[in-house]
């Protein structure tokens, strides 16, 4: 019996080692860039949740800073209700926003070559900064600012990476050959990036009195991007806890049944 327990413990240890090896081998595959530091996000862990106040600040940073070049094309204005904006606040957010209108009574979508516009509604997607990739490149010296909706899922070490990148701008070391119009950032692949440092202290003015340091704004906007990438995260973890708890009890009961059934044999 003790040998059996020992054997199973060894098996568990082996599995654990294997999974941690897989985990490190995945995180190490990042390539020629500095590894981002681990941050604590409210969304981490079994009880991960959104800090709605922080997400609202993050939206403000995105809206006032990032959105001039980067889209979040998978998000609708209506989704902002999920991070704590009231419907009046959402109406205020879209008050000055216009989107291309559908065909009018004559079936026209353009007037003299210009698209016919209408005021945005909550069911519209958050407007894109540029009509297409070409326009985007043309306005950004040939570089394409990527869509941010899924950014924290689309990079290794997602949220930590985004935060490290936003706060990681430095002067290039003297032996580093920086290309024209590029900026030194050790966290970006190849250590140079077309985007200039987007955040500066007091770049936005927070309504809730939080001091808008680069660190703070970066944390907030990254938290916002965790939400745009995984809006289901909170519900997922909450439901997950219940399911795990149920399965633990259920498996224990099934084990008791198994023991009892097999007891007849021994």
């Amino acid at each position: 019996m003790i040998r059996l327990i020992y054997k199973r413990a060894m098996l568990a240890v082996c599995l654990f080692v294997l999974f941690s090896l897989i985990n490190t081998s995945i995180t190490q595959a990042a390539g020629n860039s500095a590894p981002p530091d681990k941050q604590s996000w409210t969304t981490n862990g079994l009880f991960g949740h959104f800090d709605r106040q922080q997400l609202k600040r993050g939206w403000q940073v995105y809206n006032e800073v990032c959105s001039s070049c980067h889209s979040v094309r998978l998000i609708y204005y209506r989704n902002l209700a999920e991070i704590g904006f009231s419907s009046d606040e959402i109406k205020e957010i879209i008050a000055d926003v216009e989107v291309p209108a559908g065909p009018n009574e004559e079936g026209e979508t353009h007037d003299d070559g210009e698209p016919i516009m209408r005021p945005a509604k909550p069911f519209d997607k958050i407007v894109l900064p540029y009509p297409n990739d070409l326009a985007s490149r043309a306005a950004n010296g040939g570089a394409l600012p990527p869509d941010l909706s899924l950014m924290t899922k689309a990079r290794i070490n997602g949220a930590n990476y985004v935060h490290a990148l936003l706060t990681g701008y430095k002067d290039a070391p003297s032996n580093f050959k920086l290309s024209e119009d590029m900026h030194y950032n050790p966290y970006f692949s190849g250590s140079q990036i077309a985007m200039a440092a987007p955040l500066s202290d007091d770049g936005v003015e927070y309504n809730d009195g939080t001091k808008a340091t680069v660190e703070q704004m970066s944390k907030d906007v990254t938290a916002f991007l965790i939400w745009t990438a995984e809006p289901e995260l909170e519900e997922r973890k909450r439901l997950g806890l219940k399911v795990m708890l149920f399965l633990l009890v259920f498996s224990a009961m099934l084990y008791a049944v198994k023991r009892q059934v097999w007891a007849k044999l021994h």
Binding site: M1, L18, L21, I22, N23, S25, I26, A29, G31, L46, L74, P146, S149, L150, K153, A154, R155, I156, G158, S189, A229, P231, E232, R236, K237, L239, G240, L241, V243, M244, L247, L248, F250, S251, L254, Y255, V257, K258, V261, W262, L265, H266
Partner: protein, 424 residues
């Protein structure tokens, strides 16, 4: 096997005309099973359950998925965001693929350890290999559907493997693509085949079980059932044991679904496919990594290194042959293994070779995740070499020269004896 008598008049009426109840009784209730199966025997039924979970979740996903290059990526994101519990179903399907391979790899290794492929279960084993191949095809096709960067580039790399087929290679690749590159017609074709293949797997599983029930399960001792004392009815013994296994498995599976749903995935697949941008490292899903390592292990200057080979094979062709033969060789395993003794518990030399082989495939998996250069390439080549040496050279030799331990007289003698010892 006695025919069950049914009391319920409706059951009786139906069973007289179509003996479904008798069939169920024979294959799930009174079905005689060795009394000494350990928990490694749970993985067969687990694989069946994962197959059902995959088909069920897949059918629901297909109701909301759009197989068009301009809409596929967004339709998956719509499932994740706007379909009720779409995120749950999609994460179940996505992680279910990994679970399927974990379960099936354990199932295959269990068969190798306990010699479950040996006479008279050769066909059972071979059908299993075909199920495995169909699973690999299904998983590959499914991975293309979300139309992320890895979907597109994985599809490009894998379909290009077929270009090494002599004379018809190019034609076959264009036929797979339904065009001249991986594009919209390819995506449509892959969606159709991804929906078809699981039902073929289902059919193969039926044959697998038919073959299994003909000669019954092998067991940890690897000796045949010799009498009533050696066997117990499937129900309630193994239904109870399998149900407990399902509980533990679901804890493991749903743990990933709810708390680390992207653990097994590649971040690059959350970037929409772009034929103009090649990702820095094209890596297949983890369950293909050992084969990917074998594919890339063959040296470029194949002819220089293996100069004595009379045929001239380009490195890529040799790599593809090595990769496919690494799986197809398993079909011959019942004959490559010359030992009469099934269970590795009674084969002291094979015991160690088996575990070396397991470690070897894990090493290959790690190598497959790394760029093919430097030390990793060397390790990959040695591990590939050992893979084939194990199957083609060591398996036949060990069976001939190994001195096996004496087998117990019968299952019941061994089990009851052990119980008596433990309780004393």
């Amino acid at each position: 096997m006695s025919k069950p008598t049914w009391k319920n008049p409706i059951v009786k009426w139906v069973d007289h005309r179509l003996p479904v109840f008798t069939f169920i009784d024979h294959s799930l209730v009174t079905y005689p099973t060795p009394r000494n199966l350990n928990y490694f025997w749970n993985f067969g039924s687990l694989a069946g359950i994962v197959l059902v979970i995959m088909i069920a979740s897949g059918i629901v996903l297909a109701m909301n998925y759009t197989a068009n290059t301009s809409m596929a990526f967004d339709s998956v994101e719509r499932i994740m965001r706007d379909v009720n519990y779409g995120w749950l179903i999609r994460y179940i399907h996505m992680n279910g693929a990994s679970m399927f391979f974990i379960v099936v790899y354990i199932h295959i290794f269990r068969g190798m350890y306990y010699g479950s492929y040996k006479e008279p279960r050769e066909l059972l084993w071979i059908i299993g290999i075909f199920i495995f191949l169909a699973m690999m095809a299904t998983a590959f096709l499914g991975y293309v559907l979300p139309w992320g960067q890895m979907s597109f580039w994985g599809a490009t790399v894998i379909t290009n493997l077929f270009s090494v087929i002599p004379f018809f290679g190019e034609t076959i690749v264009q036929w797979l693509w339904s065009g001249f590159s991986v594009d919209n017609p390819t995506l449509n074709k892959f969606f159709s085949l991804h929906y078809l293949l699981p039902f073929i797997i289902f059919g193969l599983v039926f044959l697998h079980l038919w073959a299994l029930h003909t000669h019954k399960s092998n067991n940890p001792l690897g000796i045949d059932i010799k009498g009533d004392k050696d066997e117990i009815p499937f129900h309630p013994y193994y239904t109870a044991k399998d149900a407990f296994g399902v509980g533990i498995f679901l804890l493991f599976f749903l743990g990933f679904v709810f708390f680390a749903p992207n653990f097994f995935g590649e971040p690059d697949n959350y970037i929409e496919a772009n034929p103009l941008v090649t990702p820095p490292h094209i890596v297949p899903e983890w369950y293909f990594l050992p084969y990917y390592a074998i594919l890339r292990a063959v040296p470029d200057n194949f002819i220089d290194v293996w100069g004595f080979l009379p045929v001239i094979i380009p490195a890529k062709t040799a790599g593809v042959i090595a990769m496919f033969s690494s799986i197809l060789l398993l079909i011959l395993l019942p004959w490559l293994d010359t030992s009469k003794v099934r269970s590795a518990n009674f084969r002291p030399t094979y015991f160690w070779l088996f575990w070396l082989f397991v470690i070897d495939t894990i090493v290959l998996g790690f190598v497959g995740a790394k760029p093919a250069e430097g030390t990793w390439l060397l390790v990959g080549r040695l591990a590939t070499l050992y893979y084939f040496v194990h199957l083609v050279i060591l398996m036949p030799l060990v069976g001939r020269f190994e001195k096996t331990k004496p087998l117990p007289e019968s299952i019941s003698a061994a089990v009851v004896g052990k119980d008596a010892k433990e309780s004393s």
